[in-house]
Amino acid sequence: MADILVYSEKADAALELVAKGREWAAELGLGLSAACLGAGAAEAASALAAHGADRIFVSDAAFDGLPADTVAAALAAAAAEAGATVVLIASTRRGKELGGRVAQKLGAGCVSDVNALTLEHGELVADRYAYGGATVAREVITTAVKVFAVMPKTFAVGDPVAGAGAVVPLPAPAASAVRVVGRRAKEGEAVDLTAAPRIVGVGRGFAARDDLRLGTELADALHAELACTKSLADFEWLPESRILGLSGAKTKPDLYLAVGVSGQIQHTVGVSSARLIAAVNTDKEAPIFALADYGIVGDLYAVVPALVAKLQSL
């Protein structure tokens, strides 16, 4: 019997894919397999079994650092064993590099950074941004085996189901030539922009790093999270974790207020699904206004202090 095979090194992401995979497996008459690799594989396997995976391929062999070549080899072995026709991976950084490698092993087409995956007339159609976010490409994979790397949080985690999946041990693949020699935490505070109901975004309209306190004051007055364009993170004015857009967070806040942000597509792709977009910019031709519900054409250095005062008076 053919299967849908799910894998992610991130437990939550694997559960999201299992929830959706179970739905499609039922609709398409397929089985649902999952793979768990490396340290903690056994516990991860029981969680996936409880959420409806029929078979869980487990290998707790040394996958230190989860090197792409070794993980791809193990996953390809699981796919062969399960007769997988669809492989669902979470599109984390690890997942993306794994996707290409495992697809190549399986002779499969692969779509990465998928932000919507839908079953239409029996075919899985994957949506992803193209041309730097200017368009959304809707793609169908035409090879017998299909690999999709899906953005985390695209699907919700489902409820546990009755019945237990079978654990199938996987033989350990050959060790990778890549060794982990060190690990350290990322600098900058952890912030989850995707969870913020309101976001104030700052861009190159700010002339100096110190001026960003205006943005912080505005964010505080709005009870909003502060975010930025990639350039401000490149200047090291704000940490990478605050980038919105193609190379950062993709969010759906109730309000996005862009201040001194021109509105390049690589940035706006991170907020284009906001319920309301507002903008303050000196240039009335700035692309951000084409995307804005409400806007003020004006100097942020005059407008922001007035905005903060007004908001505080509410």
Partner: protein, 260 residues
């Protein structure tokens, strides 16, 4: 030591210049240029070669047609690559990542001299991030993705890489395939003098037949590729700053996104 490096260079339509008309991207008359991440990869190659004390840097590109590729690839030569290798074949027109990877891997094998194979982590237009991994698999080489720092160490390479949750330092023997992120360096500016010199550097052109390859068909079908529909109000407030700010905040309050 001598370190031979191949940098895979994709030439992309300049993303800043793509306009949308009736939800369709308008690509006519958009110039192609060497991708920003590929420039980071070229800069990394130049620094690694300097550290090694010698070696040849080749810029490798794959293209379906002419597309002024000899002009575009000069950018890589002007940055400091010693030679360019162009795989040009109309049969590549329908190829997606697997087809491009097959051509790149075959070209790397034919070049022979390659200790480090460098890529950008993704291309500025499509950003699939698959090609580096696919080429590494075809060559049977280890891969290191998302490198933000590269150094020679112990006869191999050591890379610091930026993952979602941590910074990881990896070591790999040569040959190795590496993809780089933009934080890795600031690509050097190109001087007029170097542009002139670039015209004299060797450029090799191969077809798929030269690489012993047949056309590789697409593995995907594009159902549609359109700009997202945006239904926005486009209200701009006029007047003095205080009037603008009052009207603006009142609108946000009315929308229920600020205030109690």
């Amino acid at each position: 030591m001598s370190l031979d490096i191949v940098v895979c260079v994709k030439t992309n339509p300049d993303a800043q210049m793509i306009r949308i008309k009736n939800r369709e991207p308008v690509l006519e008359a958009i110039p192609y240029k060497v991708g920003d991440l590929e420039k980071n990869a070229l800069e990394a190659a130049l620094q690694l070669r300097d550290a090694a004390g010698g070696g040849t840097i080749r810029a490798l590109t794959v293209v379906e047609g002419d597309r002024k590729i000899r002009e575009t690839i000069k950018e890589a030569l002007a940055m400091g690559a010693d030679e360019a290798v162009i795989v040009a074949d109309p049969a590549l027109a329908g190829a997606d990542q697997a087809g491009i990877a097959a051509a790149l891997a075959a070209a790397v094998a034919k070049i022979g001299a390659c200790d480090v194979l460098l890529f950008g982590e993704g291309s500025t237009d499509n950003y699939s991030g698959q090609v580096g991994a696919r080429v590494a698999e075809l060559l049977g080489w280890p891969q290191i993705g998302y490198a933000k720092k590269l150094a020679l160490a112990g006869g191999g390479i050591e890379a610091e890489r930026s993952m979602d949750e941590m910074i990881e330092t990896l070591a790999a023997p040569l040959p190795v395939a590496v993809t780089v992120v933009s934080e890795i360096n600031e690509p050097r500016p190109i001087s007029l003098m170097n542009i002139l010199k670039a015209g004299k550097k060797p450029v090799t052109e191969w077809t798929l037949a030269d690489l012993g390859l047949d056309a590789v068909g697409a593995q995907k079908r594009i159902v549609s590729n359109l700009a997202e529909e945006q239904d926005r109000k486009h209200v701009l407030f006029a007047g003095a700053v205080d009037e603008q700010v009052d009207a603006f905040v009142n609108a946000l309050v009315k929308e229920g996104v600020v205030g109690r």
